[in-house]
């Protein structure tokens, strides 16, 4: 498996940017009770958290599984391994109506094609809706997860194409145009969700400040603020107490490489 080695200080410390991103996202899940798992990077981050910082966390898959214990990392969001040994298998009606809309989900974990500074997400189209330049998958469950999960975690690689001033289509609401408006609308419309709380990228960890905008709190080893600015479509809020993200432990790397992603599908 070909990986970048920005750590450089001996074999134990060598890790790729993707591995740092997955480890950082998994650690953010410490203390969470019920997590709705998305396809792709969220899937590996949540499964790593379950094996490290959040062993008691219940994994919920939109395919209709509560309390999954996958013995292998599934390629697809639906896979026989998420069923065998699970606490409950439900119809998708029950999963979305009773578990999600009913308010049982603490964290919804989403990916995105485009995201803005307020954590609003586009997974529908690049370009104009009727004649798009790129047709993306669409909402899936993301739209209702963003509204009904108590908080939203996002994991995605940073690039100027994806971290944009203006998203082309709002598939899943974040903090709308800012915290004040978002809070009022959530209250008026009875949303259970409080919106996005963290965005983990291959360069750093962003939380949301009192204005409802992303603020860079941690910079991954090897990443620079110049890189952060070059991969964003806006002038970012940066924490005055910006800190380096603690590097992955040997155990975290072992779990990713040996158990969760031996083929390097997510980490290359």
């Amino acid at each position: 498996m070909a990986v970048e080695r920005p750590g450089g200080a001996g074999a134990a410390a060598a890790f790729s940017k993707s591995e740092m991103m997955i480890v950082a996202a998994a650690r953010e899940l410490a203390g969470q009770r019920v997590c709705f798992v998305g396809v792709g990077l969220p899937n590996i981050a949540v499964n790593l958290a379950k094996r490290t910082v959040a062993p008691d966390m219940e994994l919920v898959y939109e395919a209709g599984v509560f309390g999954a214990r996958p013995a292998r990392l599934p390629l697809s969001i639906g896979d026989p391994t998420i069923v065998t040994g699970a606490t409950a298998v439900t119809s998708m009606w029950e999963l979305f109506a009773f578990y999600l809309q009913g308010g049982l989900i603490d964290v919804g974990f989403l990916g995105a094609a485009q995201i803005d500074r307020f954590g609003n997400i586009n997974t529908t189209v690049i370009g104009e809706y009727a004649h798009p330049k790129t047709r993306l998958p669409g909402s899936g469950g993301a739209c209702e997860i963003a509204i009904n999960a108590r908080q939203i975690f996002v994991i995605m690689r940073q690039s100027a194409r994806s971290f944009v001033e203006r998203i082309d289509f709002r598939t899943s609401p974040g903090n709308l145009g800012g915290a004040e408006k978002a809070e009022r609308i959530r209250r008026e419309q009875g949303w259970l969700g409080r919106g996005p709380s963290v965005v983990v990228t291959d360069l750093g960890i962003w939380h949301f400040d009192e204005t409802g905008e992303m603020r860079l709190d941690f910079l991954h080893p090897g990443a620079t603020l110049d890189e952060i600015r070059a991969t964003l479509g806006w002038d970012p809020h940066i924490s005055p107490s910006l800190a380096p993200t603690p590097v992955p432990t040997p155990e975290e790397l072992r779990l990713i490489r040996d158990e969760l992603d031996p083929e390097g599908m997510y980490t290359k």
Partner: protein, 306 residues
Amino acid sequence: MSSSKVATMRDAVGALVRDGDTVAIEGFTHLISFAAGHEIIRQRRRDLVLARMTPDVIYDQMVAAGVARKLIFSWLGNPGVGGLHAIRRVTEGADTSLELEEYSHFGMVARYAAGAANLPFMPLRSYFETDLPVANPLIRLIESPYGDGTVYAVPPLKPDVTVIHAQRADAAGNTQVWGLLGCQKEAAFAADRVIVVVEELVDEAVIRADPNRTIVPGIVVDAVVVEPWGAHPSYVQGRYDRDNRFYRDWDAISRDPAATDQWLRDWVYDLDGRAAYAEKLGDERLRALLPSGPAPSGVVDYGEYR
């Protein structure tokens, strides 16, 4: 005793799927009836409206074969792999000839539930502050009649034909499923006609020994087709695994229109049915998809009450 509804795939599709129909082949990653999709291609149905939460590789193949005029869906992709390239070719840039009507997952499930329950709409707390109701005006904001705010409504979806795949059914169409249940129950009850495709035909006594596992009763089923391996490259819990290699292979095949046409010739048009497809896949490929071991359920006792 109801009479047998057992039919061949050719006869079931021939009798029940008509040009212009709204067809739902449901099954969320699990139990996707590729066998029925391929038979619809072989019989050259046209102008179908294809409904499915996740169009997946099967609708990519059906769109490539020219059976569809429109998709109704909530997530358009090859799960874990990427895009659906045959569909992208007719939904992007200069060619947007395939009509799209899109929802979220909950919206699609709610549409089938409304259809199954004979309701004019289903309310849900989705779509607030998104562009989805703009893109699809059938998603509408409504006031609660009890004065406690607004919710969104989606209209019922009543397919002309729903096709589901299952582990087993009896000849009357009483159908049992375990593993991921998706929205098959809702989609079947919502439909005018239902085709059930099964790995195994069982005696009525097998169904009656475990009635909690029946998701669709024979009373809503029109045809039962026995088609082992009928869900490949999708999977059947306890019988065969998802063939992820095929999902990855399809990415390269479907990027090239000529390779896509060739694949349809080799694996659909030139074969007369699912048995020939399984034989062409070969024993080695199929054996590799068997579960690595058994994981039987515990036995429950329903009790006898006379």
